[in-house]
Each structure stands twice: as C-alpha cells, then as structure tokens.
C-alpha cells in the first residue's frame, strides 16, 4: 500500500476529530458511510466501537479519536465512518466529519517531531500545512494494525 510512501504526488482525505484535522491517503479509503449503530464486542478495547453491517460483511469499527487518545465521540448523526483497507483487512474509522480532498507533494509533508508516545506512537506519519491549518497524516497500518496485536 502507498499510505506511508511519501510519493511525489498524493491525494489526502482530510477529516476532523475533536477540532483537529487529520488526513489519510485516499488510496486506502474504500468508502465513507453515515453513522449506524454498532454492535458491541464484549471485552474489546474501549476504542473498538463494535461491528456494523457493511452490505452483508461484518465490519469492525473503531473510534479513531479514542484510538488516538482524544476524548470519546458523542454519538452524533453527523459522525461518519471512513471505511479503509489496510493489508487486506477492512476497518471502519469513526470520525467527526470529513472535510476535503487535497493534493500534496512529497515536499509538503514533514516528519512529525519526536514527541508522541504511548498507544498513538508512530500513528502520525507526517504533518503538512494547508491554508495555514496543520494536518496530521496518519499511518494507517500503525493505526489499524495495533488492534491485531492487542487482540492476539
């Protein structure tokens, strides 16, 4: 997958989480869905919202905010689920709202300062500025992949 490769040109899907702006490589985004009630998975980590029915397949959904250590989402009609595919595994990411699609070049992206730690370590792969707003570009494999490790 191309999400971590700082290729010459890439398009980012930007979205909001607790008044902050994040982005994902658009190539890993499969679709964007409105919020539907998720069935809880017992004994799952708190950031796992549960599973939803995505046209007949069972899709796990995580609260991306909680995953990144932000306060939990209030359930809100305007929340959306970004369905992403990472290493052949589909996951839904619950976010506040999707904002835009922006094209960036490799030079626009800067590595994040080495401050982050804990569960969200390595989750932000780079930073970029768009219209004077800082956008955090997520490393999808690190964001989604951790579930497997904690579950195993």
């Amino acid at each position: 997958m191309t999400e971590t490769v700082l290729s010459a040109n890439m398009e980012l899907l930007t979205f909001r989480l607790a008044e902050q702006e994040y982005a994902l490589d658009i190539m890993s985004v499969r679709e964007i869905r409105g919020w539907t009630h998720a069935t809880q998975l017992p004994h799952a980590p708190a950031y796992m919202k549960g599973v939803i029915n995505l046209r007949g397949t069972v899709l796990p959904v995580m609260d991306l905010g909680l995953r990144l250590g932000l306060p939990p989402r209030e359930e809100n009609e305007r929340n959306v689920i970004i369905v992403v595919k990472s290493e052949d595994v589909m996951t839904g990411l619950l976010v506040d709202a999707v904002s835009d699609i922006v094209a960036v070049t490799g030079e626009d992206l800067q590595p994040p300062p080495e401050l982050s730690s804990g569960a969200s370590e390595g989750v932000v792969s780079s930073l970029t500025l768009i219209d004077e707003r800082m956008i955090r570009v997520l490393n999808l494999a690190a964001t989604v992949g951790t579930i497997e490790r904690t579950a195993a």
């Binding site: 069935t39 809880q40 998975l41 017992p42 069972v58 796990p60 595994v89 579930i147 497997e148």
Partner: protein, 749 residues
C-alpha cells in the same frame, strides 16, 4: 488453480480430479468384492479404474504411477480373464495396491518423492499372483505405449491414451482372416451392427470390435456400404457403414454382447440366434471372409485423423498369430473407453468451490435482505391482505427454497470420508496385528463439504482408537467367546435435521475402573469422587487423558479424545459415548447439516441482541427471586426439579452490565453442555427463534471468548452468535463446577 493460464496445468488438474473419482470407483469395487457381492462387472470396473489412471498418468509422464498401475492392472487382467481367483490374501494385496495407487497419485500431484521401496514391495506382492504368466515385455510396454501421445493436449486425456492403444494394431495388422482351424462353434448368430453418428466421438473403432468377435469363433462379415456418400460429401467423423455378421461360436450370447458393451447406445445392435443349420446359413450370405478387411480399410478413411498414430515402432504386437489365444493386448483399450463413457453419461458439472461459496454467500444476503424487507413492510402498516404482503410471503417461500437448494449443492455424500476410514482400519489393524472388519452403513448420507473435510481428522483418530483400544486382541476375543475378527461399524444417518455419525466396536467396552483410576492418578478428578458410569465414560474427553498403558504407534500419544471433542464442537456438533462392558462402545457424533446457517434463538441481554444455537437450549424458565440460591457470593444456583444448576449471568460476563441482583421476571435458558451437565444462562428476554446466516468473524477482530460468529438480523443490525460452552469454560472453572445431568428432558427438543 493458480496457474490458470497454463493449459497444461489445467489439464493436469482435471486429470487429478478425475483420478479422485477413479480411485473412489476402485475402492468401491474392491469393497464390493470384499462384501462378496461382486459380479463380473465389478472386476471390470476395478480394472478400468486402474487402467484409466495409468493412461492419464502416461500422458503426463508420471512414470512411477504408470509403472505401478500397469503391474496392478496386469494382475487384475488375470482376474478378469478368469485365470486368477480373488481370495482373501489377494484382496488384501489389492487393497494395499489401491491405497498405494492413491498415494502415488497424491505424490505426483504434490510433487513429492515417490516411495520407491514401498512400490517395489507391493510390485513383488502383486507379481506373486502372476506366477509365470507375466509376460516380460509388460514391464517395458508402458513407455512405448504412451510416449508418443504425451503432447496431444487438445484431446481428452483418457481418450488420448486410448487412441494410442486402439490405434496400435495398425491397419495392416488387422486380424488375419478368421482362422478356420479354430474350434468350430456349435451355435450360429446373426449380428446386425449399425453404428450411429456419435460412435466415433467416443473413440470406438469398429474394426477392433470385429476382430474381437473373430476370436470367438468362425466369423463371416458382410458390409453394407449403401449409405456411403460420395467422397466429396463424406463427413469423416460420422460412420457410414454397417455390418451383418455371422458368427459360429460356442460362447454365450452375453459374451458376444460384452464385446459391444462399450458402444452400447451408440449403435443399433441385434443379435439373433440362427436356428437349425447355422453353417449353411452363413454360406448363403457369404461375401467371402476377406470382406472385413476391405470394409475396414474403407472405414479407416472415415476415422478422424487423431486416431492415426505416428507409427509406433513396436506397437503392433497385437496380431501375432501366436497370441490368438492369449489375452488380446488391444482389449485394455476398450474398458478404458467404457470408463470414460459413464462419466460422460452422468450429467455432472464440476464447479469451482469458490463459485459455490460465492453463491452461498449471495443467498445468505438474499435471506437477510428478505428479512429486512418484510420487517420494514410490516412496520409500514400495510394490510396483511394487500398485494405487497402476499407477494412478500411468496418471496419468503422462494428464498427458503433457494437457500435449501444451494445448501444441497454443497452437500456431499460421506462416502469419500468413509473410504478413507476403511484404509485407516486396514493400516491400523495391520499395525497392531488384529483382524478387523469395517462395516459401513449410510455412506450416501449427504453432509456439507466443509463438515466432511473437517471430520476427517477426528474420525481417523476415533477409528484408530477403536482398533487399538476398543477391540481386544484375537486371543482375548476368543477367550471371551467372540469371533477372532473384530467388527467396527461406521454409520451415518440424517436424524431430525442433523447428521449422526456413529462409530461402534464389538470390543470389551470401556474399562471403567481403570479409567477412573487413571483419572485419579493423573489428578484429573479428586480421589474420592463418586461418578456415574456416564461420567466415567466422559472422563475420556478430559484433556491429557490417555488410557493406553503401552504407547503404540497408532494412538496413545496423549492427544486424545479431548482434541476430537474440540474439533467436533468447532463444527457445532456434539459427541457422546455409550459403552457396555464386554459388548463394545459406541461413539456418536451429532452434527449440523451445514455450517452456513444455524437455527438460533434470538435473545436480548442488557439492550444487546444475541443469538444462541437453538440445539443447545434444553429448556427455558422464568425466574422469581425465590428460585435463586446463593452458594457463596458471586456463585448462585437455581433449583430445577430438585436439582441445582449453576446460574451464569450472561450480561455480566459479557461486560454489558453489572451482575443482576433482582431476578424477578428474568429468563434463564438451560444450556446442555457436551458432558450432559447443564448451566442456566441468565438473560433478559427471548425475542425469536429463526434461522440465521453465519458470518465468520475475522481473526483480525478482537475475539472475545464465547463469541463464535456473527449474523445479520432482519433490521440490518449485527448480532453476535454465542458459544455458551466456550464462554462458561472461560468464565473460570473454579466458579462453576458442572452440575450433574438433568433427569428430565427439556421442552424444546
């Protein structure tokens, strides 16, 4: 299938699929012989199977397989010709040889090394039956026979090899004019033989049929070329000639017919017995005995080009006059043809499993969609008599029918599985020097393909156990007044929507005092435990239990019945034991027909909707506070018909809520465990009983104990499917000791 672009790989794959079928036919035939129900056709079937495998293997240059199959075939041919009778000893070798053929096929498919030593041993065993009759040239024959055709990929495989053989007796080598010195028969037949348009499509060659007839006796053949069109109008793929044959012979009419059996349905064949002076009758229509040759040569003009081989140097060994009485080397070609013919006749379609899988999934979607539709129509307040509602009812019925039919596609008879078991019995009984007979009942019973695949290991284990531990040694059996040969029965049957597979032996039964002692010695149960017979029997399923005092090759490696039980449970099945000392034991496995749908009970716990497998629910009760007794904090029991059943708070254990304190109005489900103990599952409400489509939960998900899978309900929401035994086991064995089995059977059965 990964190399789909490679035509060779595809043909190879289909050869191996065909091999599976042929091996099954081979096993079947041998089994029939073993059962004493064999007729002359049975040995033919066996022979053809081996022959076809050899033919196909030759085309792919699978030499080890060709060599062995050829030797096996030679022995079988002796049997077919009546020069060798099958006794027990021979049958045993044949079974081994069949097993070895199937090993070799597998090895060729997977590209492993051939077990030459074993091959040599078995060839030696087979050769014993041949005695001096084995023609030396046989050993060399395969290469010559098949080599030239190795690249004719566009031909059907088995046909390709047949053609080579069929064509081997070159035209010039066709039968010499009937030998008038041959024993003159005492019966005369008039045979009318009119090939139909399709006959050449199956690779049949009239000349060979006529030649075989000529070996039966005095032959006069008249050819009718009246329907032969002008040369420019000839369709070479279609036969234009027909024959009238006068045969003076001492053989039975059935035998004459047998020559034509491979063209049955492809020609008009009339065999009439000529009354009175057969000889003179022949004379009247005598067109001279030379006519066959003339006819046949003209016939070959019509033969499709592939039938002409590139003149194999040594091939025309057939018509040497000296061999007139010997088995006709061209004969094998005909059974092979017949072997392909029935396959074509059975209208069977081979479908990639993935496609079926997709269809099953789609039908699952349809079922869910239908449920959603009916739910929303009901909510919209439509009159139940409106067109939409009656249409919906129809839709519901159709959906159910489609679902059933699709499930049927996946269903397969357990036969292939049982055949593997008969091999296990043969091998394992040989390993422990016991004489064991496997009786198979209900091998036509159909079960979901996945179930069959996943049953193989547990069943193998249980069969080995039965041979090794279940049955006594021959000496002990005789001492106990039983026949020396032990019996193992393997049966399958449908019983109220489930499949029940039973493995029973007529051995000594479970030695309960010893089982109990071992369990105590190993610390699996307290030394002073008072257990019922059933409970002792069920100790076998405890992890780490193995009774064999001598660890044999066969079983007793410590991976015991607990593994078997786990695999059966994973399939949604249950396993039970019944045993009578001195009379034997029966293990019975009850399985769902399919893994794709489940009869479930939809329940509500703390606002969440969950599904429980219906077959586990023995009884449902509504509680009041008085029914619940506390044993110690956090450990409660309820009283059911003067027995105490541990109470398990589902909502609390799933982390949905705090443990319930007020039980008034709460509902409990009595859940049957595999060891026949019961647990009361505390829930809020029962919503529905319905079939649900099982959706597997990816392993990448967070997987909680007790959650088996998920399903999608009528409102589009996902509900989790519970595995109560797993959950209860994980909730801590300390808190919940299994209760004794309930005495009364529940209502939902």
């Amino acid at each position: 299938m990964s190399e789909e672009n490679d035509p060779m790989a595809e043909i190879r794959a289909s050869f191996f699929i065909e091999c599976e079928e042929l091996l099954e036919a081979l096993q079947d035939g041998l089994q029939t012989i073993d059962d004493g129900a064999a007729d002359s056709e049975t040995i033919n079937v066996v022979f053809r199977a081996v022959h076809s495998i050899k033919g196909g293997a030759g085309a792919f240059g699978l030499e080890a397989l060709v060599r062995f199959a050829h030797r096996f075939e030679t022995v079988l041919d002796e049997v077919r010709a009546g020069r060798l009778t099958i006794d027990d000893e021979a049958l045993k070798v044949f079974f081994q040889a069949a097993d070895h053929v199937s090993d070799l096929v597998r090895i060729c498919r997977d590209g492993a090394d051939a077990p030459d030593a074993e091959t040599a041993v078995l060839i030696g065993a087979l050769d014993q039956f041949l005695g001096d009759t084995v023609p030396e040239e046989d050993a060399e024959e395969p290469e010559i026979e098949f080599a030239p055709m190795g690249l004719s990929l566009d031909l059907d495989l088995s046909d390709a090899s047949d053609e080579t053989e069929a064509a081997c007796p070159d035209l010039d080598a066709l039968p010499p004019p009937p030998d008038f010195g041959a024993p003159t028969g005492d019966t005369a037949y008039t045979i009318t033989f009119i090939p139909q348009a399709e006959m050449f499509e199956t690779g049949n060659e009239p000349a060979l049929l006529l030649r075989n007839l000529s070996q039966m006796g005095d032959l006069k053949v008249t050819c009718d070329a009246s329907t032969l069109p002008d040369l420019d109008k000839i369709t070479p793929e279609v036969p234009h000639l027909s024959w009238t044959i006068h045969l003076q012979t001492d053989v039975e009419e059935a035998e004459i017919r047998s020559i034509f059996e491979f063209v049955e349905g492809l020609c008009v064949l009339e065999i009439a017995r000529e009354t009175g002076d057969g000889g003179s009758d022949g004379d009247t229509t005598d067109e001279t005995p030379v006519s066959p040759i003339v006819d046949i040569s003209s016939e070959t003009v019509n033969t499709p080009p592939p039938a002409r081989p590139p003149d194999p140097p040594q091939a025309p060994t057939a018509p040497k006059p000296a061999q007139a009485a010997a088995p006709n080397p061209a004969e094998p070609s005909q059974p092979a043809r017949a072997a392909t013919a029935p396959t074509a006749a059975k209208s069977v379609v081979r479908v990639d499993l993935d496609r079926i899988e997709r269809l099953v999934n789609l039908v699952g979607e349809l079922v869910i969609n239908q449920a959603m539709l009916s739910q929303s129509l009901e909510q919209s307040g439509l009159s139940p008599h409106s067109d939409a509602m009656s249409g919906l009812e129809e839709f519901q019925r159709l959906t159910r029918d489609i679902q059933d039919s699709v499930m049927m596609i996946r269903a397969q008879p357990v036969k292939s599985l049982f055949q593997r078991m008969s091999r296990i019995v043969r091998e394992s009984s040989a390993a422990v020097s016991k004489d064991v007979r496997l009786n198979v009942i209900g091998e036509g019973t159909e079960v979901d393909k996945t179930v069959i695949e996943r049953l193989a290991d547990p069943l193998t284990h249980m069969i080995r156990n039965a041979v090794d531990h279940g049955l006594e040694t021959p000496e002990k059996r005789i001492a106990a007044g039983k026949p020396a040969q032990g019996q193992i029965n393997l049966s399958a049957a449908h019983r109220s929507g489930r499949v029940v597979i039973e493995i029973s032996d007529d051995g000594a039964g479970i030695n309960r005092p010893r089982v109990l002692q071992i369990a105590i010695d190993k610390g699996l149960i307290p030394a002073d435990a008072q257990l019922s017979d059933t409970e002792i029997d069920n100790l076998l399923f405890l992890p780490g239990f193995s009774t064999a005092s001598v660890v044999s090759d066969l079983s007793g490696r410590g991976v015991g019945m607990d593994v078997v039980r786990t695999s059966i449970q994973a399939l949604g099945g249950r396993i039970t034991i019944t045993s009578n000392p001195g009379e034997g034991s029966t293990f019975s496995i009850s399985l769902p027909l399919t893994l794709a749908v489940l009869d479930g009970m939809v329940i509500k716990v703390a606002g969440e909707t969950l599904v429980l497998p219906l077959n586990l629910v023995v009884e449902t009760l509504t509680l009041s506070n008085q029914d619940v007794q506390m044993v110690r904090p956090g450990n409660q029991v309820i009283e059911v018909r003067s027995g105490f059943v541990p109470l398990f708070d589902l909502g609390a254990s799933l982390g949905y809520r705090e443990p319930l304190q007020n039980f008034d109005g709460a509902v409990v489900l009595l859940i049957a465990q595999e060891d026949e103990s019961c647990t009361a599952l505390l829930i809020d409400n029962i919503l529905d009983q319905r079939q649900v489509v099982i959706k597997g939960l990816d392993d990448s998900f967070h997987r909680a104990p007790g959650i088996a899978a998920a399903t999608i309900l009528g409102d589009g929401q996902i509900a989790l499917i519970l595995d109560p035994s797993d959950m209860i086991a994980n909730a801590g064995a300390t808190a919940l000791a299994p209760s004794p089995p309930l005495k009364t059977q529940g209502v939902s059965a």
